[in-house]
Protein backbone atom coordinates (compact mmCIF):
# COMPACT_ATOMS: atom_id res chain seq x y z
CA UNK A 1 0.00 0.00 0.00
CA UNK A 2 1.59 3.23 -1.13
CA UNK A 3 -0.58 5.64 0.85
CA UNK A 4 1.38 7.43 3.57
CA UNK A 5 -0.14 6.55 6.89
CA UNK A 6 -1.11 8.97 9.57
CA UNK A 7 1.19 8.73 12.54
CA UNK A 8 2.37 10.66 15.54
CA UNK A 9 4.40 13.75 14.70
CA UNK A 10 5.94 14.98 17.98
CA UNK A 11 6.88 18.27 16.34
CA UNK A 12 3.18 19.10 15.91
CA UNK A 13 2.34 18.84 19.60
CA UNK A 14 0.05 15.80 19.78
CA UNK A 15 -2.00 15.46 22.96
CA UNK A 16 -3.09 12.22 24.61
CA UNK A 17 -6.84 11.75 24.87
CA UNK A 18 -6.50 9.95 28.15
CA UNK A 19 -3.96 10.11 30.95
CA UNK A 20 -1.36 7.42 30.83
CA UNK A 21 -2.71 4.05 31.76
CA UNK A 22 -6.33 5.23 31.66
CA UNK A 23 -7.30 4.49 28.06
CA UNK A 24 -10.27 2.14 28.40
CA UNK A 25 -9.61 -1.27 26.87
CA UNK A 26 -6.00 -0.46 26.00
CA UNK A 27 -4.08 -3.52 24.91
CA UNK A 28 -0.34 -3.10 24.54
CA UNK A 29 -0.03 -6.30 22.56
CA UNK A 30 -1.90 -4.73 19.66
CA UNK A 31 1.12 -2.47 19.16
CA UNK A 32 -0.92 0.62 18.46
CA UNK A 33 -0.16 4.06 19.75
CA UNK A 34 -2.38 5.30 22.55
CA UNK A 35 -5.23 7.46 21.28
CA UNK A 36 -4.25 11.05 20.70
CA UNK A 37 -5.14 14.12 18.69
CA UNK A 38 -2.95 16.58 16.82
CA UNK A 39 -4.08 20.21 16.91
CA UNK A 40 -3.79 22.57 13.94
CA UNK A 41 -4.83 25.82 15.57
CA UNK A 42 -5.62 29.21 14.14
CA UNK A 43 -4.44 32.10 16.28
CA UNK A 44 -6.80 34.03 18.53
CA UNK A 45 -9.99 33.04 20.30
CA UNK A 46 -13.47 31.98 19.28
CA UNK A 47 -12.49 29.89 16.24
CA UNK A 48 -14.81 27.13 15.04
CA UNK A 49 -13.28 23.65 15.28
CA UNK A 50 -13.28 20.56 13.08
CA UNK A 51 -12.42 17.19 14.59
CA UNK A 52 -11.15 14.96 11.79
CA UNK A 53 -11.24 11.16 11.58
CA UNK A 54 -9.12 9.92 8.66
CA UNK A 55 -10.35 6.87 6.81
CA UNK A 56 -8.70 3.49 6.26
CA UNK A 57 -11.28 0.79 6.82
CA UNK A 58 -10.59 0.68 10.54
CA UNK A 59 -7.27 -0.94 9.63
CA UNK A 60 -5.08 2.11 9.08
CA UNK A 61 -5.49 5.87 8.96
CA UNK A 62 -4.62 7.59 5.69
CA UNK A 63 -2.47 10.69 6.09
CA UNK A 64 -4.05 12.57 3.20
CA UNK A 65 -7.41 12.32 4.91
CA UNK A 66 -5.95 13.93 8.00
CA UNK A 67 -3.11 16.35 7.49
CA UNK A 68 -4.22 17.77 4.15
CA UNK A 69 -7.76 18.23 5.41
CA UNK A 70 -6.62 19.99 8.57
CA UNK A 71 -4.55 22.46 6.58
CA UNK A 72 -7.34 23.07 4.09
CA UNK A 73 -9.80 23.80 6.88
CA UNK A 74 -7.28 26.13 8.49
CA UNK A 75 -7.33 28.06 5.18
CA UNK A 76 -11.12 28.10 5.41
CA UNK A 77 -11.05 29.61 8.92
CA UNK A 78 -11.41 26.55 11.15
CA UNK A 79 -9.04 25.22 13.78
CA UNK A 80 -8.62 21.50 13.24
CA UNK A 81 -7.78 18.40 15.23
CA UNK A 82 -6.77 15.11 13.60
CA UNK A 83 -7.71 12.16 15.78
CA UNK A 84 -5.67 9.00 16.06
CA UNK A 85 -8.37 6.52 16.97
CA UNK A 86 -7.96 2.81 17.60
CA UNK A 87 -8.32 0.39 14.70
CA UNK A 88 -8.16 -3.39 14.21
CA UNK A 89 -7.60 -5.61 16.05
CA UNK A 90 -9.44 -3.44 18.57
CA UNK A 91 -13.14 -4.06 18.15
CA UNK A 92 -16.08 -1.75 18.69
CA UNK A 93 -16.57 0.35 20.72
CA UNK A 94 -12.87 1.25 21.11
CA UNK A 95 -12.92 3.70 18.19
CA UNK A 96 -16.26 5.14 19.32
CA UNK A 97 -14.89 5.80 22.82
CA UNK A 98 -11.96 7.59 21.21
CA UNK A 99 -14.30 9.62 19.02
CA UNK A 100 -16.51 10.71 21.92
CA UNK A 101 -13.45 11.43 24.04
CA UNK A 102 -11.97 13.62 21.30
CA UNK A 103 -15.06 15.85 21.19
CA UNK A 104 -15.16 16.12 24.98
CA UNK A 105 -11.42 16.84 25.12
CA UNK A 106 -11.59 19.64 22.57
CA UNK A 107 -14.51 21.22 24.44
CA UNK A 108 -12.83 20.86 27.84
CA UNK A 109 -9.74 22.67 26.55
CA UNK A 110 -11.61 25.20 24.40
CA UNK A 111 -10.15 28.26 26.06
CA UNK A 112 -6.59 27.04 25.70
CA UNK A 113 -7.20 26.02 22.07
CA UNK A 114 -8.92 29.32 21.32
CA UNK A 115 -12.03 27.61 19.97
CA UNK A 116 -15.77 27.93 20.51
CA UNK A 117 -17.23 25.12 22.60
CA UNK A 118 -20.50 25.34 20.65
CA UNK A 119 -18.86 25.13 17.23
CA UNK A 120 -17.19 21.76 17.31
CA UNK A 121 -17.89 19.73 14.18
CA UNK A 122 -16.74 16.22 13.33
CA UNK A 123 -15.59 15.22 9.85
CA UNK A 124 -14.69 11.75 8.62
CA UNK A 125 -13.87 9.83 5.44
CA UNK A 126 -15.09 6.32 4.68
CA UNK A 127 -14.62 4.30 7.89
CA UNK A 128 -13.67 7.58 9.54
CA UNK A 129 -17.04 8.78 8.28
CA UNK A 130 -18.67 5.88 10.06
CA UNK A 131 -16.86 7.02 13.18
CA UNK A 132 -18.00 10.61 12.63
CA UNK A 133 -21.58 9.38 12.24
CA UNK A 134 -21.31 7.33 15.43
CA UNK A 135 -19.88 10.33 17.26
CA UNK A 136 -22.65 12.54 15.91
CA UNK A 137 -25.53 10.18 16.55
CA UNK A 138 -24.54 8.16 19.62
CA UNK A 139 -23.76 10.76 22.21
CA UNK A 140 -24.41 11.89 25.75
CA UNK A 141 -24.42 15.20 27.58
CA UNK A 142 -21.48 14.29 29.84
CA UNK A 143 -21.39 13.55 33.55
CA UNK A 144 -21.35 16.74 35.65
CA UNK A 145 -20.15 14.79 38.67
CA UNK A 146 -17.16 13.19 36.94
CA UNK A 147 -13.77 13.56 38.62
CA UNK A 148 -12.15 13.93 35.20
CA UNK A 149 -13.21 17.36 33.83
CA UNK A 150 -13.10 16.02 30.28
CA UNK A 151 -15.86 13.54 31.13
CA UNK A 152 -18.11 16.39 32.26
CA UNK A 153 -18.37 17.61 28.66
CA UNK A 154 -21.03 16.65 26.12
CA UNK A 155 -19.86 14.34 23.35
CA UNK A 156 -22.42 15.64 20.84
CA UNK A 157 -20.77 17.57 17.99
CA UNK A 158 -22.48 20.69 16.63
CA UNK A 159 -22.33 19.39 13.06
CA UNK A 160 -21.10 16.36 11.18
CA UNK A 161 -19.43 16.10 7.80
CA UNK A 162 -19.61 12.66 6.23
CA UNK A 163 -17.35 12.05 3.24
CA UNK A 164 -18.12 8.86 1.28
CA UNK A 165 -18.98 7.46 4.68
CA UNK A 166 -20.05 4.01 5.75
CA UNK A 167 -23.36 4.77 7.43
CA UNK A 168 -24.51 1.22 7.96
CA UNK A 169 -21.76 -1.34 8.49
CA UNK A 170 -23.91 -4.39 7.86
CA UNK A 171 -25.12 -3.05 4.55
CA UNK A 172 -22.17 -1.10 3.19
CA UNK A 173 -19.07 -2.55 4.81
CA UNK A 174 -19.90 -6.05 5.92
CA UNK A 175 -16.24 -6.95 6.50
CA UNK A 176 -16.80 -4.56 9.38
CA UNK A 177 -15.53 -4.96 12.86
CA UNK A 178 -16.29 -7.34 15.68
CA UNK A 179 -16.89 -6.48 19.30
CA UNK A 180 -13.94 -5.78 21.49
CA UNK A 181 -13.51 -8.42 24.21
CA UNK A 182 -12.12 -5.88 26.72
CA UNK A 183 -14.78 -3.24 26.41
CA UNK A 184 -18.26 -3.89 27.76
CA UNK A 185 -20.98 -2.84 25.41
CA UNK A 186 -24.65 -3.80 25.40
CA UNK A 187 -26.14 -5.54 22.37
CA UNK A 188 -28.22 -2.45 21.79
CA UNK A 189 -25.22 -0.16 21.72
CA UNK A 190 -23.33 -2.54 19.46
CA UNK A 191 -26.20 -2.63 16.94
CA UNK A 192 -26.41 1.15 17.05
CA UNK A 193 -22.71 1.35 16.27
CA UNK A 194 -23.15 -1.06 13.39
CA UNK A 195 -25.98 1.01 11.96
CA UNK A 196 -25.73 4.73 12.72
CA UNK A 197 -28.67 5.42 10.40
CA UNK A 198 -30.87 3.71 12.96
CA UNK A 199 -29.76 6.32 15.52
CA UNK A 200 -31.02 9.34 13.61
CA UNK A 201 -33.52 11.42 15.54
CA UNK A 202 -34.63 15.06 15.47
CA UNK A 203 -31.77 15.75 17.92
CA UNK A 204 -29.11 14.73 15.39
CA UNK A 205 -26.58 17.41 14.49
CA UNK A 206 -26.84 19.19 11.12
CA UNK A 207 -25.02 17.19 8.46
CA UNK A 208 -23.08 17.76 5.26
CA UNK A 209 -22.58 14.63 3.18
CA UNK A 210 -20.76 13.99 -0.05
CA UNK A 211 -20.02 10.92 -2.16
CA UNK A 212 -19.45 9.85 -5.77
CA UNK A 213 -21.99 7.88 -7.78
CA UNK A 214 -19.53 5.31 -9.02
CA UNK A 215 -17.75 4.64 -5.72
CA UNK A 216 -17.22 0.91 -5.77
CA UNK A 217 -15.96 0.55 -2.21
CA UNK A 218 -18.81 2.23 -0.37
CA UNK A 219 -22.04 2.40 -2.37
CA UNK A 220 -23.47 5.90 -2.75
CA UNK A 221 -26.70 4.58 -1.26
CA UNK A 222 -24.91 4.85 2.11
CA UNK A 223 -25.14 8.63 1.86
CA UNK A 224 -28.58 8.65 0.26
CA UNK A 225 -30.06 6.59 3.08
CA UNK A 226 -28.44 8.68 5.78
CA UNK A 227 -29.74 11.88 4.15
CA UNK A 228 -33.24 10.43 3.90
CA UNK A 229 -33.24 9.49 7.58
CA UNK A 230 -32.04 12.96 8.60
CA UNK A 231 -34.52 14.72 6.34
CA UNK A 232 -37.39 12.59 7.62
CA UNK A 233 -36.54 13.79 11.15
CA UNK A 234 -36.35 17.43 10.10
CA UNK A 235 -32.59 17.65 10.64
CA UNK A 236 -30.76 20.22 8.49
CA UNK A 237 -28.79 18.34 5.86
CA UNK A 238 -26.91 19.07 2.67
CA UNK A 239 -25.66 16.41 0.27
CA UNK A 240 -23.53 16.48 -2.86
CA UNK A 241 -23.32 13.33 -4.96
CA UNK A 242 -20.78 13.81 -7.73
CA UNK A 243 -21.07 11.73 -10.89
CA UNK A 244 -17.62 10.31 -11.00
CA UNK A 245 -14.70 9.62 -8.75
CA UNK A 246 -12.92 6.72 -7.12
CA UNK A 247 -13.36 6.00 -3.42
CA UNK A 248 -10.92 7.94 -1.32
CA UNK A 249 -10.73 11.29 -3.06
CA UNK A 250 -9.92 13.26 0.11
CA UNK A 251 -9.62 16.90 -0.95
CA UNK A 252 -10.13 15.98 -4.61
CA UNK A 253 -7.90 18.85 -5.69
CA UNK A 254 -7.87 17.69 -9.31
CA UNK A 255 -11.48 18.73 -9.53
CA UNK A 256 -12.02 22.25 -8.30
CA UNK A 257 -15.75 21.87 -8.01
CA UNK A 258 -15.47 18.97 -5.64
CA UNK A 259 -12.88 20.68 -3.47
Amino acid sequence: MGTPLWRRHPEWGPEELWEEGKTPGYCAQYGQDSSFLTPFLLPGQGNPAIVIFPGGGYEIKAEYEGLDIARRFNDLGFSAFVVDYRVKPYGFPAAQLDGQRAVRYVRAHAARFGIRRDQVAVLGFSAGGHLAACTGLICDPGNPAAADPVERESSRPDAMVLCYAVTNMAKFFPAGIKRDPELPCTDETYSRILNPISCVSPAAPPAFLWHTADDDTVDVAASVEMFQALHACGVTAEMHLFAHGAHGLGLATENAART
Partner: protein, 276 residues
Protein backbone atom coordinates in the same frame (compact mmCIF):
# COMPACT_ATOMS: atom_id res chain seq x y z
CA UNK B 1 -53.78 33.68 -11.47
CA UNK B 2 -50.16 33.49 -10.46
CA UNK B 3 -48.30 36.01 -8.34
CA UNK B 4 -45.08 36.10 -10.34
CA UNK B 5 -44.10 37.46 -13.76
CA UNK B 6 -44.71 35.06 -16.61
CA UNK B 7 -42.66 34.30 -19.70
CA UNK B 8 -44.32 35.08 -23.00
CA UNK B 9 -43.70 35.82 -26.66
CA UNK B 10 -41.23 38.65 -27.35
CA UNK B 11 -41.22 39.36 -31.09
CA UNK B 12 -37.91 41.21 -30.84
CA UNK B 13 -36.28 37.93 -29.74
CA UNK B 14 -37.37 36.15 -32.96
CA UNK B 15 -39.46 33.34 -31.49
CA UNK B 16 -40.01 30.28 -33.70
CA UNK B 17 -43.38 28.54 -33.83
CA UNK B 18 -43.02 24.79 -33.44
CA UNK B 19 -45.77 23.90 -35.91
CA UNK B 20 -47.04 25.57 -39.05
CA UNK B 21 -50.15 27.66 -38.55
CA UNK B 22 -53.26 25.56 -38.06
CA UNK B 23 -51.27 22.37 -37.51
CA UNK B 24 -50.76 22.44 -33.76
CA UNK B 25 -52.13 19.11 -32.51
CA UNK B 26 -54.96 19.26 -29.94
CA UNK B 27 -55.04 23.05 -30.20
CA UNK B 28 -58.05 24.60 -28.53
CA UNK B 29 -58.56 28.31 -29.21
CA UNK B 30 -60.99 28.65 -26.31
CA UNK B 31 -58.14 28.08 -23.86
CA UNK B 32 -56.70 31.41 -25.00
CA UNK B 33 -53.09 30.26 -24.99
CA UNK B 34 -50.40 31.08 -27.53
CA UNK B 35 -49.27 28.35 -29.93
CA UNK B 36 -46.15 26.56 -28.67
CA UNK B 37 -42.87 28.22 -29.67
CA UNK B 38 -39.20 28.44 -28.77
CA UNK B 39 -37.11 31.58 -28.29
CA UNK B 40 -33.49 31.27 -29.45
CA UNK B 41 -30.39 32.40 -27.54
CA UNK B 42 -27.73 31.14 -29.92
CA UNK B 43 -23.97 31.35 -29.71
CA UNK B 44 -22.05 31.92 -32.94
CA UNK B 45 -20.21 29.06 -34.61
CA UNK B 46 -21.11 25.42 -35.21
CA UNK B 47 -21.65 22.25 -33.22
CA UNK B 48 -22.53 24.03 -30.01
CA UNK B 49 -24.24 22.08 -27.28
CA UNK B 50 -27.70 23.53 -26.62
CA UNK B 51 -29.85 23.80 -23.52
CA UNK B 52 -33.64 23.81 -23.89
CA UNK B 53 -34.81 25.79 -20.87
CA UNK B 54 -38.22 24.68 -19.62
CA UNK B 55 -39.63 27.15 -17.10
CA UNK B 56 -41.77 25.98 -14.20
CA UNK B 57 -45.10 27.29 -12.99
CA UNK B 58 -47.06 24.27 -11.87
CA UNK B 59 -48.34 23.67 -15.39
CA UNK B 60 -50.45 26.83 -14.88
CA UNK B 61 -48.06 29.40 -16.31
CA UNK B 62 -44.38 29.70 -17.23
CA UNK B 63 -42.24 31.57 -14.70
CA UNK B 64 -40.22 34.43 -16.11
CA UNK B 65 -37.58 33.87 -13.41
CA UNK B 66 -36.79 30.50 -14.98
CA UNK B 67 -36.51 31.63 -18.59
CA UNK B 68 -34.30 34.17 -20.28
CA UNK B 69 -32.04 34.59 -17.24
CA UNK B 70 -31.22 30.88 -17.36
CA UNK B 71 -30.61 30.96 -21.12
CA UNK B 72 -28.22 33.88 -20.81
CA UNK B 73 -26.34 32.25 -17.96
CA UNK B 74 -25.92 29.08 -20.03
CA UNK B 75 -24.69 31.24 -22.94
CA UNK B 76 -22.02 32.64 -20.58
CA UNK B 77 -21.01 29.06 -19.80
CA UNK B 78 -20.61 28.28 -23.50
CA UNK B 79 -23.96 26.66 -24.35
CA UNK B 80 -26.51 27.83 -26.90
CA UNK B 81 -30.04 27.90 -25.51
CA UNK B 82 -33.72 28.10 -26.24
CA UNK B 83 -36.60 28.87 -23.90
CA UNK B 84 -39.63 26.68 -24.47
CA UNK B 85 -43.16 28.08 -24.37
CA UNK B 86 -45.37 25.04 -23.80
CA UNK B 87 -49.10 24.65 -23.27
CA UNK B 88 -50.41 24.50 -19.71
CA UNK B 89 -53.68 23.84 -17.88
CA UNK B 90 -56.45 23.40 -18.84
CA UNK B 91 -54.67 21.41 -21.55
CA UNK B 92 -54.31 17.95 -20.03
CA UNK B 93 -51.32 15.58 -20.14
CA UNK B 94 -49.72 14.70 -22.45
CA UNK B 95 -50.18 17.96 -24.42
CA UNK B 96 -47.22 19.73 -22.73
CA UNK B 97 -45.17 16.63 -23.54
CA UNK B 98 -46.12 16.93 -27.22
CA UNK B 99 -44.80 20.49 -27.18
CA UNK B 100 -41.53 19.58 -25.47
CA UNK B 101 -40.94 16.64 -27.77
CA UNK B 102 -41.70 18.79 -30.81
CA UNK B 103 -39.19 21.35 -29.57
CA UNK B 104 -36.42 18.75 -29.32
CA UNK B 105 -37.28 17.38 -32.76
CA UNK B 106 -37.41 20.88 -34.26
CA UNK B 107 -34.02 21.88 -32.87
CA UNK B 108 -32.47 18.59 -33.97
CA UNK B 109 -33.92 18.93 -37.46
CA UNK B 110 -32.60 22.47 -37.86
CA UNK B 111 -29.32 21.87 -36.02
CA UNK B 112 -27.15 23.02 -38.90
CA UNK B 113 -29.03 26.27 -39.25
CA UNK B 114 -28.82 26.90 -35.49
CA UNK B 115 -25.11 26.03 -35.34
CA UNK B 116 -25.71 23.27 -32.85
CA UNK B 117 -24.75 19.62 -32.55
CA UNK B 118 -27.91 17.48 -32.87
CA UNK B 119 -26.45 15.01 -30.38
CA UNK B 120 -25.90 17.60 -27.69
CA UNK B 121 -29.41 18.69 -26.82
CA UNK B 122 -29.93 19.11 -23.09
CA UNK B 123 -33.30 19.79 -21.50
CA UNK B 124 -33.16 21.89 -18.33
CA UNK B 125 -36.44 22.13 -16.44
CA UNK B 126 -37.46 23.87 -13.21
CA UNK B 127 -40.15 22.54 -10.90
CA UNK B 128 -43.05 21.44 -13.17
CA UNK B 129 -40.69 22.12 -16.08
CA UNK B 130 -38.40 19.52 -14.49
CA UNK B 131 -41.26 17.07 -14.52
CA UNK B 132 -41.84 17.88 -18.17
CA UNK B 133 -38.15 17.34 -18.93
CA UNK B 134 -38.02 13.98 -17.17
CA UNK B 135 -41.27 12.77 -18.72
CA UNK B 136 -39.85 13.05 -22.24
CA UNK B 137 -36.37 11.85 -21.34
CA UNK B 138 -36.56 8.54 -19.52
CA UNK B 139 -37.46 6.51 -22.59
CA UNK B 140 -39.27 6.55 -25.88
CA UNK B 141 -39.64 9.50 -28.23
CA UNK B 142 -38.39 7.76 -31.40
CA UNK B 143 -38.86 9.58 -34.67
CA UNK B 144 -41.00 8.41 -37.56
CA UNK B 145 -38.63 7.81 -40.49
CA UNK B 146 -41.36 7.90 -43.16
CA UNK B 147 -43.01 11.07 -41.89
CA UNK B 148 -43.77 13.73 -44.47
CA UNK B 149 -42.79 16.44 -42.05
CA UNK B 150 -38.98 16.23 -41.70
CA UNK B 151 -39.23 17.43 -38.10
CA UNK B 152 -41.25 14.32 -37.20
CA UNK B 153 -38.50 12.07 -38.53
CA UNK B 154 -36.22 13.14 -35.70
CA UNK B 155 -35.99 11.54 -32.27
CA UNK B 156 -37.53 13.57 -29.46
CA UNK B 157 -35.14 12.16 -26.88
CA UNK B 158 -32.75 14.77 -25.45
CA UNK B 159 -29.12 13.79 -24.84
CA UNK B 160 -29.04 14.88 -21.18
CA UNK B 161 -31.44 16.29 -18.61
CA UNK B 162 -31.02 18.85 -15.84
CA UNK B 163 -33.77 18.68 -13.23
CA UNK B 164 -33.99 21.72 -10.97
CA UNK B 165 -36.17 21.36 -7.86
CA UNK B 166 -38.35 19.15 -10.00
CA UNK B 167 -41.63 17.50 -9.18
CA UNK B 168 -41.08 13.99 -10.45
CA UNK B 169 -43.91 11.87 -9.24
CA UNK B 170 -46.98 13.55 -10.65
CA UNK B 171 -49.25 10.75 -9.45
CA UNK B 172 -49.54 12.63 -6.17
CA UNK B 173 -49.97 16.01 -7.82
CA UNK B 174 -52.05 15.18 -10.87
CA UNK B 175 -55.28 16.47 -9.45
CA UNK B 176 -53.60 19.67 -8.44
CA UNK B 177 -52.14 20.54 -11.81
CA UNK B 178 -53.74 18.77 -14.67
CA UNK B 179 -56.81 16.56 -14.70
CA UNK B 180 -56.56 13.69 -17.13
CA UNK B 181 -59.36 13.71 -19.66
CA UNK B 182 -60.71 10.85 -21.66
CA UNK B 183 -60.80 12.72 -24.92
CA UNK B 184 -57.26 11.64 -25.72
CA UNK B 185 -57.79 7.92 -26.39
CA UNK B 186 -55.07 8.01 -29.05
CA UNK B 187 -52.34 8.09 -26.42
CA UNK B 188 -51.01 4.79 -25.16
CA UNK B 189 -51.65 3.93 -21.56
CA UNK B 190 -48.01 3.16 -20.84
CA UNK B 191 -46.94 6.54 -22.13
CA UNK B 192 -49.44 8.18 -19.81
CA UNK B 193 -47.97 6.22 -16.88
CA UNK B 194 -44.52 7.42 -17.93
CA UNK B 195 -45.76 10.97 -17.83
CA UNK B 196 -47.25 10.55 -14.36
CA UNK B 197 -44.17 8.91 -12.85
CA UNK B 198 -41.05 9.05 -15.03
CA UNK B 199 -38.88 7.53 -12.30
CA UNK B 200 -40.54 4.16 -12.78
CA UNK B 201 -39.47 4.03 -16.41
CA UNK B 202 -35.76 4.70 -15.90
CA UNK B 203 -33.57 2.01 -17.42
CA UNK B 204 -29.94 1.54 -18.46
CA UNK B 205 -30.52 3.61 -21.60
CA UNK B 206 -31.88 6.63 -19.82
CA UNK B 207 -29.92 9.77 -20.59
CA UNK B 208 -27.43 11.31 -18.12
CA UNK B 209 -28.95 13.55 -15.49
CA UNK B 210 -27.96 16.42 -13.21
CA UNK B 211 -30.42 17.06 -10.39
CA UNK B 212 -30.46 19.74 -7.73
CA UNK B 213 -32.70 21.37 -5.19
CA UNK B 214 -32.74 22.68 -1.62
CA UNK B 215 -33.26 20.26 1.26
CA UNK B 216 -35.92 22.36 2.95
CA UNK B 217 -37.96 23.14 -0.17
CA UNK B 218 -41.51 23.44 1.12
CA UNK B 219 -43.21 22.88 -2.22
CA UNK B 220 -41.30 19.94 -3.62
CA UNK B 221 -39.90 17.36 -1.25
CA UNK B 222 -36.35 16.17 -2.02
CA UNK B 223 -37.86 12.73 -2.03
CA UNK B 224 -38.71 13.39 -5.68
CA UNK B 225 -35.09 13.90 -6.66
CA UNK B 226 -33.78 11.19 -4.33
CA UNK B 227 -36.00 8.53 -5.91
CA UNK B 228 -35.03 9.56 -9.42
CA UNK B 229 -31.38 9.66 -8.40
CA UNK B 230 -31.46 6.16 -6.93
CA UNK B 231 -33.18 4.73 -10.01
CA UNK B 232 -30.62 6.28 -12.35
CA UNK B 233 -27.62 5.31 -10.25
CA UNK B 234 -28.77 1.71 -9.90
CA UNK B 235 -29.00 1.40 -13.67
CA UNK B 236 -25.51 2.80 -14.13
CA UNK B 237 -26.70 6.02 -15.78
CA UNK B 238 -24.24 8.93 -15.22
CA UNK B 239 -25.93 11.10 -12.63
CA UNK B 240 -25.04 13.88 -10.24
CA UNK B 241 -27.18 15.42 -7.52
CA UNK B 242 -26.79 18.39 -5.22
CA UNK B 243 -29.14 19.01 -2.32
CA UNK B 244 -28.31 22.37 -0.79
CA UNK B 245 -29.10 22.96 2.86
CA UNK B 246 -31.51 25.85 2.63
CA UNK B 247 -33.48 27.83 0.10
CA UNK B 248 -37.07 28.51 -0.94
CA UNK B 249 -38.67 26.85 -3.93
CA UNK B 250 -37.86 28.72 -7.13
CA UNK B 251 -34.40 30.09 -6.39
CA UNK B 252 -33.50 29.69 -10.12
CA UNK B 253 -29.95 31.07 -10.56
CA UNK B 254 -29.62 31.79 -6.82
CA UNK B 255 -27.24 34.62 -7.66
CA UNK B 256 -27.17 36.05 -4.15
CA UNK B 257 -27.33 32.74 -2.35
CA UNK B 258 -23.88 31.65 -1.37
CA UNK B 259 -23.33 27.98 -2.10
CA UNK B 260 -26.51 27.43 -4.15
CA UNK B 261 -25.09 29.71 -6.80
CA UNK B 262 -22.54 27.00 -7.59
CA UNK B 263 -25.10 24.84 -9.35
CA UNK B 264 -24.73 26.19 -12.88
CA UNK B 265 -20.94 25.81 -12.73
CA UNK B 266 -21.21 22.27 -11.40
CA UNK B 267 -23.81 21.49 -14.05
CA UNK B 268 -21.64 22.81 -16.86
CA UNK B 269 -18.69 20.76 -15.56
CA UNK B 270 -20.83 17.64 -15.40
CA UNK B 271 -21.97 18.14 -19.00
CA UNK B 272 -18.48 18.93 -20.28
CA UNK B 273 -17.09 15.81 -18.60
CA UNK B 274 -19.64 13.79 -20.59
CA UNK B 275 -18.49 15.35 -23.84
CA UNK B 276 -21.06 18.12 -24.31
Amino acid sequence: MVNYAVWKRYPELNPIDLWAEGEVPEYCAEYGQDVPFITPFLLPGKDNAVVMVIPGGGYEAKAAHESRNIAERMNALGFSAFVLDYRVAPYPFPVPQLDAQRAVRYVRCHAGEFGIDPNKIIVMGFSAGGHLSASISVKGGEGTPEAEDPVERESARPNAMVLCYAVLNMANHARQFVTPESFLPAYLDEYYQQVLNPTQFVDAHTIPAFLWQTSDDQMVDPHNSLEMYSALQKHGVPVEMHLYRHGHHGVNLALELESINTWTTLCAQFLRQLGF
